[in-house]
């Protein structure tokens, strides 16, 4: 089973491009359909797909704001579905100054969580 921190030969998580600057996706050769995250390299299906790179920006298709139980002490956080021009929809955390909105332009930020685990988020595009 692929762990989300599993790294490719480049040392990057499988959902990052080798240079670590973009999200990686895949296109099925037969159907030309595209998906994120990409099929992991160890999958028996891997040869059916070719790698593609997602751009820096997308638009919010929908969103919600999760309100953790007050006893948890955690702050609300926003989640979005972001539609990329490369015809891929990605789910992720939105970190912006305000509430997300449908149709809003967002930018991908690739970084690390507090734990140090690699992660991606979306922020308002300027």
């Amino acid at each position: 089973m692929t762990d989300n921190a599993d790294t490719t030969a480049t040392g990057r998580p499988y959902w990052q491009t080798p240079d670590g600057k973009h999200l990686a996706a895949c296109e099925e050769r037969a159907s030309r359909e595209r998906f994120f995250p990409p099929i992991p390299q160890g999958s028996p299906l891997h040869a059916r797909y070719e790698s593609i790179t997602l751009g820096d920006e997308a638009r919010i298709y929908s969103f919600t704001v999760i309100h953790p139980h007050p006893k948890s002490g955690k702050a609300p956080f926003a989640l979005v579905y972001a539609d990329f021009p490369e015809k891929v929809r990605v789910f992720g955390i939105y970190e912006g100054d305000g509430r997300p909105s449908i149709g809003e332009r967002v930018r991908v930020v690739i970084g690390a969580a507090e734990s140090g685990a690699p992660r991606y988020t979306f922020t308002a595009a300027r």
Binding site: N4, P37, T64, L79, Y81, I102, A117
Partner: protein, 383 residues
């Protein structure tokens, strides 16, 4: 093709059963259904057990003390569609003539999980990655809610009205977990879970219960009008595309079309519906997916009152998952139990006004990323 009858039904009250074990719950439902069918356990040739979190060989464990004569016990898991899937598989065997009479039961004891959101299936790189991002089932439905309000220009008030309707129905149902009516203000004022879904717009996650049916190819001769299953479908989710409309409930619409075709009817002939209202937005979306109204008209259908107990097409007369509760493995079987009671006019204070001839039960099993839902099941029952 052989007619498949539901000759007996029973369910436990759905709620927190601190003093009851899962065995107690399952046996209560099974014995109740067998008695309702005026049958004996000796005549039951196989048992089908729908469950999600109970562990391996659950059916055998739960039925052991009934001292059955070694008949087959099958354990079926399809998330929230487990019970309905169990009915579907039982029907295969009955139609093939392998058995004449079987019992299907569903059971779940979610209070043992400690509460909170239902765990996702993490044997999947995509679900695992998204779960790390914060994907939980309420979030998936909440984003449908956000999109619905945006596209149709309605407010959260219409979502709250689903909860108000179903909580009213639940107040009349002695088997429901939540038997207290509510108001739009109370629903909208309850704690926000995943915007726009507040607490009272989400089915409770701490609930236990069981339901059972006796299925047979012998036409029942009892005092109640015989109920047949005339449509039974299970479908799996199709890999999501980048431009999917998250409001079209594709898997449910597909399962419903197949069920209608099997039954030889259309949506307009359905008299009563139990559907998968795990969250308020789900009921509106499923109105459309089941063809009870045109696309985009779900909110209007609710506002018209036609889905109330006295309406043209009562939906969730039991109180639905929102009020009755949603012990996952039991839900599909409990939905059909309610439909049988409604068709046979045994539903007590919540009996729908119209004399129903055809009922529909729909449930979906989710829990993974990349598909609308993992499983959807639609059953159509008829006098």
């Amino acid at each position: 093709m052989k007619d498949i009858y539901i000759s007996g039904v029973a369910m436990t009250r759905f709620g927190k059963h601190d003093q009851a074990s899962m065995q107690d719950l399952a046996q209560e439902a099974v014995l109740g259904a067998v008695a309702d069918a005026s049958e004996t356990l000796d005549n039951v040739e196989a048992f089908y057990c729908g469950n999600v979190f109970g562990g391996m060989i659950l059916g055998q464990v739960l039925l052991r003390d009934l001292a059955l004569a070694g008949v087959p016990v099958y354990n079926i898991e399809n998330a929230c569609a487990s019970g309905a899937s169990a009915v579907h598989l039982a029907m295969h065997a009955l139609r093939a003539g392998v058995y004449e009479t079987v019992v299907v039961f569903g059971v779940e004891q979610l209070t043992k999980l400690g509460g909170g959101t239902i765990p996702l299936q993490l044997n999947d790189y995509k679900t695992g990655l998204y779960a790390e991002q914060g994907m939980v089932l309420p979030a998936v439905y909440a984003m449908r809610g956000t999109r619905y309000l945006h596209e149709h220009g309605v407010t959260s008030e219409v979502l709250a009205k689903v909860a108000v309707k179903n909580r009213y129905n639940g107040s009349l149902n002695p088997y429901a977990q939540t038997r207290k009516e509510t108001t739009v203000d109370e629903v909208l004022g309850s704690r926000m879970i995943a915007d726009p879904l507040t607490l009272l717009q989400c089915c409770p996650s701490a609930v236990d219960g069981s339901a059972a049916l006796v299925l047979t190819t012998r036409k029942p001769q009892g005092r109640h009008a015989p109920v047949r299953i005339i449509g039974s479908v299970v479908q799996s989710g199709i890999r999501e595309q980048h431009d999917d409309d998250i409001l079209d409930a594709e898997i449910t619409a597909r399962a419903a079309r197949l069920a209608y075709r099997q039954a030889g009817i259309g949506p307009s002939e359905v008299d009563v519906v139990e559907l998968h209202d795990a969250f308020t937005i789900a009921e509106l979306i499923y109105y459309e997916a089941l063809g009870l109204c045109a696309p985009g008209e779900g909110a209007a259908l609710l506002e018209s009152g036609e889905t109330s107990l006295s309406g043209r097409i009562p939906v969730s007369p039991s109180g639905g998952l929102l009020a009755k509760g949603h012990p996952l493995g039991a839900t599909g079987v409990a939905q059909m139990t309610e439909i049988v009671w409604q068709l046979q006019r045994r539903a007590g204070d919540r009996q729908i006004t119209k004399h129903a001839r055809i009922g529909l039960a729909q449930c979906t099993g989710g829990g993974i990323a990349g598909v609308d839902h993992a499983a959807s099941s639609v059953h159509i029952l008829s006098l």
